[in-house]
Amino acid sequence: MPVLETKNFGRIEYEPGDVIEFRRGLPAFEDQTEFLLIEGPAERPLVFLQSVRRPELAFICLPARAVVPDYRLSASPEDLEEVGWQEGGGAPESELVCLAIVTVREGAPPTANLLAPVLINPATRRGVQAIQVDSGYSHRHPLAPGVEEGEPCS
């Protein structure tokens, strides 16, 4: 079983099938195409998007609907196609994992990027950071205290 020595989360054992492929990388990290989604029991519902190739690169994420319960996904057809989501099966929200990357800057409260959520299709293990042009969501949505258990990922 492959093992990843991460900077922040220690030694992660994973199976090749756990890897999520981001064929386009993420904006500013275009060369990073393989990630693991990892969680710790004490941090739920936070999850971590950990780069497989760069042990020091990770993103702290929250399910978009844990940040805004009525969050609406308006991903472009290209992004939905990129993760291999088939139209007709159901609403994308019900099948895709939709995560907001959380940032904390010096002297400011944490914010979540709702403008550009990370979409992961568990069925295909492919992901994309979807820019939701015209969605009206902010790339720096102030994080409010959330519910302890949070929402499921998808």
């Binding site: 756990d18 993420l26 904006p27 989604l37 710790g40 971590f48 990770a58 929250l62 820019i131």
Partner: protein
């Protein structure tokens, strides 16, 4: 900032090979046609915002950053010892 008013069908020229033409304008939206040399990257602003946020987020993904996010999320003080010892891949 230079401000220029244009109607649908009109264009502005930038430098030696860049043309930005207003193709359509309706309901507060404009459709632009951009002609530029191959080597000039053209991005929606949102991509740059995402890149900036990702860069900041990668920097914030540390135990200290995680602690501040958890404190905010849970609305109280988080003791550093309460972090998980074992993390596992989500399937």
């Amino acid at each position: 900032m230079l401000v220029i008013r244009r109607r649908a069908g009109e264009a502005v020229l930038i430098g030696d090979g860049i043309e930005v033409r207003v193709l359509e304008s309706s309901g507060g939206r404009v459709t632009l046609g951009i002609t530029a040399p191959k080597e000039v990257p053209i991005l929606r602003e949102e991509i740059r915002l995402a890149a900036e946020e990702n860069t900041a987020a990668a920097r914030a993904a540390t135990p200290a950053g995680l602690q501040r996010i958890l404190e905010r999320w849970r609305g109280g003080e988080e003791s550093p010892g309460s972090f998980s010892k074992i993390f596992r891949p989500l399937r």
